[in-house]
């Protein structure tokens, strides 16, 4: 009996394995997508715009950033710049995967880049370390398998949130949901002293530079915070 189970696990294709390991992430992705849908429609975006965010950008934190800055009537260039700054971390994702997926055909790499969200990266990186015998086709298949639940989950969650959002009564103080979403993203990021130092500089900078026009204070604060984080890490 035990032998049969092991045998079936061994024959499980990388694609199926990816799908199975991606499924638990739905618990996080669907509610978070729904929150974006609710807040996007609260901010006055049309259903099409909310869905375009979640299918073209597919990056929660930067989508929340953009919506908040749009609500604050920030100039477009600053909105795009701030939201892209949040996404710069993704350079760290594509760099370590390049040795694994570099040999794949260009069209496959184009598709992978589209689907390379936080959860997909985290799973792929650890799976590739656990299965060194996989060839490039197995690795691409695994990544595709992970995307099967994760990507539709994000899109469906967004849609549900946008559809439901219109039903919520005014008295629910949904204005606080957006800061709450950011805080919930930041908490788990505060892993080391360097992360805490960077966050502290970001907070202080944003408060002290709140007078700078067009929300440029945030960009300056973020630049300083990044430098401080990197410097604290270097000295550690």
């Amino acid at each position: 009996m035990q032998g049969m189970v092991t045998a079936s696990q061994r024959t499980k294709s990388p694609f199926v394995r990816g799908t199975i390991q991606g499924l638990p992430f739905l618990i996080v992705i669907v509610p978070f997508g729904a929150l974006f849908g609710v807040l996007g429609s609260e901010a006055g975006l049309s259903l099409a715009q909310v869905m375009a965010f979640s299918t073209l950008v597919i990056a929660g934190a930067s989508q929340f950033t953009a919506v908040q800055l749009i609500v604050e009537h920030t100039p477009m260039a600053i909105v795009v710049l701030s939201a892209l700054a949040v996404n710069l971390r993704m350079m760290m994702y594509s760099a370590p995967l390049a040795p694994h997926l570099g040999p794949a055909p260009v069209w496959q790499r184009c598709l992978i880049a589209y689907l390379l969200v936080d959860q997909v990266y985290a799973l792929a990186q650890s799976a590739y370390e656990d299965a060194p015998h996989w060839d490039v086709r197995d690795k691409v298949a695994y990544l595709g398998g992970v995307a099967v639940p994760v990507f539709p989950g994000w899109v469906a969650g967004t849609w549900a949130g946008a559809a439901l959002g219109a039903q919520f009564p005014e008295s629910w103080s949904l204005d606080f949901a957006l800061p709450l979403a950011f805080l919930a993203l930041v908490g788990p990021m505060l892993k080391t002293r360097a992360h805490v130092a960077a966050a502290f500089v970001s907070v202080l900078g944003a408060l002290l530079l709140a007078w700078v026009p067009w929300n440029l204070g945030l960009i300056i604060a973020a630049g300083l915070a990044m430098a401080v984080g990197a410097e604290v890490e270097r000295r550690a």
Binding site: I27, V28, P31, S46, A52, V57, T65, I70, H73, M76, V79, V80, S82, L84, A85, V86, N87, L88, R89, M91, M92, S94, A95, L97, A98, P99, L101, G102, R109, C110, A113, Y114, D175, F176, A177, P179, L180, F182, L183, A184, L185, V186, G187, M189, L190, H195, A198, A199, S202, V203, A206, L207, L218, A221, A222, A225, V228, G229, A230, R234
Partner: protein, 107 residues
């Protein structure tokens, strides 16, 4: 922002984000990033998001920029639970429940 400007923002953000994701996978290949660059990239999230959220918590537009003890408390609880449990959903729930309770107590 006008409808057209919002669409432009979405498209630019989509293209920019895709370019970031594609950067190494598609173009730069196996070349490793210099350690100094990696060191800075590790802090992009904690550099932007806390600065973005602070004014929203300290000067909420719903209270016309007046400091609100309920929002402040809920924010501290959400952050503390996030740091402690390392989990986004638990953090949202803790902050949301605190905010709901606080608003009910004050009302």
């Amino acid at each position: 922002m006008s409808d057209g400007a919002i669409w432009t923002t979405i498209v630019l953000l989509g293209i920019g984000t895709y370019a970031i994701r594609f950067s190494f996978l598609g173009l730069i290949g196996n070349r490793a990033l210099p350690p100094a660059v990696l060191r800075h990239l590790r802090y992009t999230g904690v550099a932007v998001l806390p600065g973005l959220v602070t004014p929203l918590v300290v000067w909420p537009s719903a209270t016309d920029g007046e400091i609100d003890p309920v929002r402040l408390t809920a924010a501290v609880v959400a952050l503390a639970v996030g740091v402690w449990r390392k989990d986004t959903i638990q953090s949202v729930l803790a902050g949301g429940i605190t905010f709901g309770l606080g608003a009910w107590l004050v009302a």
